[in-house]
């Protein structure tokens, strides 16, 4: 079984996770830029973070045979800190990078006026750079936040087929299904969605335009939730082709709209035969 995790924060995970993910079939992933546990207070820390998303983290993933791509954006929570607003000015540099396949995570946290401004400004950037958009829906007041996100997306003129609205559940899926945007679901140990509820939703809504991710990060989460949900689908009677559609073909189709997706090759390894030649690299004790 081959798996593409369309949303996972690997910077917060260990090499054991990479190994376990590879064993479970994960061969490609997208790491969206987002907030980290500790709020940042300057543009410089964002720049270093973006650098690691287009530098160090793809290198780490390649060691474990996994192709790493990312999304770049100013997240809604930190959009509220005026000290971080300058991040918008450095975004165009990063949106030009090979490994960047979407703008995101955008959207709402507490639905403030600042979040409105930053969301709209980045949708414009996405249109300019012809990149897909990853929209985070808020943990609190989720239904209203989802509807407001869909309104802003419609006003922006970014084509709906280039937008995924993520972290959906039973109460928010309907509106997104009707909108024409892609539907993203995060499978978590306690919060968000779980495997069995996800299977039920796919029975009801089908597997078209559906992206299922682990969204694993620095909180209580599980990088193998993609694989566990895939197995739950099979156990519930879904055909292997439907499972492959959800966990490979769909994320490939969505992110390939960037024109930059290379899901078959770990990005760094493919770029440098010599330093990865033979077994020399794996032996180095870093």
């Amino acid at each position: 079984m081959r798996i593409f995790d369309p949303h996972i924060h690997m910077s917060s995970r260990t090499t054991n996770d990479y190994e376990a993910m590879y064993r479970a079939g994960v061969r490609a992933l997208v790491e969206p830029s987002f907030w980290v546990g500790q709020p940042r207070t300057s543009v410089g820390t964002f720049v270093d973070y973006f650098d690691s998303l287009v530098g160090w983290e793809p290198f780490r993933a390649a060691q474990y045979g996994i192709a790493h791509h990312c999304t770049i954006g100013l997240n809604p929570k930190e959009a509220n800190d005026p000290r971080c607003r300058g991040v918008l000015e450095v975004l165009p540099r990063y949106l030009a990078k090979d490994g960047v396949v979407a703008v995101g995570e955008l959207g709402y946290d507490a639905m403030t006026a600042e979040e409105d401004e930053v969301f709209a400004a980045q949708l414009e950037l996405a249109a300019e750079h012809e990149l897909p958009v990853l929209v985070h829906t808020p943990h609190r007041d989720k239904e209203a936040g989802t509807r407001r996100s869909l309104d802003v997306i419609r006003e922006s003129g970014v084509p709906v087929e280039r937008v995924v609205v993520d972290h959906l559940n039973e109460t928010t899926v309907e509106a997104v299904a009707e909108s024409g945007c892609w539907m993203g679901f995060s499978i978590y140990p306690d919060t968000k969605m779980d495997e069995d509820r996800m299977v039920r939703l796919m029975r009801q809504y089908g597997v078209e335009r559906v992206l299922v991710n682990s969204a694993a990060d620095w909180g209580k989460s599980d990088p193998l939730k993609t694989s566990k949900t895939a197995h739950a689908m099979l156990a519930a009677g879904f055909e292997p082709a439907a499972v492959d559609r959800v966990f490979w073909a769909n994320p490939v189709e969505f992110y390939a709209q960037s024109g930059r997706l290379r899901p078959e090759t770990p990005v760094t390894a493919g770029d440098n035969g010599a330093t990865f030649a033979g077994n020399s690299i794996e032996r180095g004790s870093r």
């Binding site: 287009v54 030009a96 090979d98 010599a274 330093t275 990865f276 020399s280 690299i281 032996r283």
Partner: protein
Amino acid sequence: MTPHPDPSDLRAALRERADTSGMRWLEEALTRVAQRRSAIGTLFPAAGRECARGTLVEDSEEPRAVPRTWTCEDAVRALLLTALPLEGAELGSEVTALYRYGDAAEKRGVLRGLGLLRADEGLVEAGLPLVRDGLRSNDTSLVAAALSEFGASHLDAPAYRQGVLKCVFLGIPLRDVAGLPERADAELARMLNDYARERSAAGREIPADVWRIVDPPRFHPREEA
């Protein structure tokens, strides 16, 4: 010895790898950069997408014009740097900006491309901090690129030795490191001898590259009493 390519070598190698539209993109990009320096900001990251990517030359023991570690993107980026209508400190500051905001592949392109530029005082002053940054990295492709032509020519002896030791430590083949025939000295041999002794004491394999610098009969697995 690692080869030291010039722009015509890189062009010739690229013609073997890129298709017609890729080469056309390259020629147009070089013209645009020559006319307006700021054009390089958007062309530099697009090198792989627009021209060609992947291995530039086949791996071989035969001597050739282009080192086996170079990728097509590296060659395109190096050529773009040579097209900049700048020199000295001005060229240095443009190159610094490309490195600072580059992804890993762009940083590598800068580190390799520096060797094709005229190394006057201004450029060396700007380029050396980039080489040191590359050497501090844990990304093996950056460490290796930092020890290509420019780094090998301009690093001082202690930094060059530390760089070579780090390559052995990370498993980067020394045949891809520039400058060794001229720069490997007794102190580097001492450092590698100590490293080999540490490996041996821990019951670990000694990387074969150590013996490129350390004379096996003179290796002492234990500290002498």
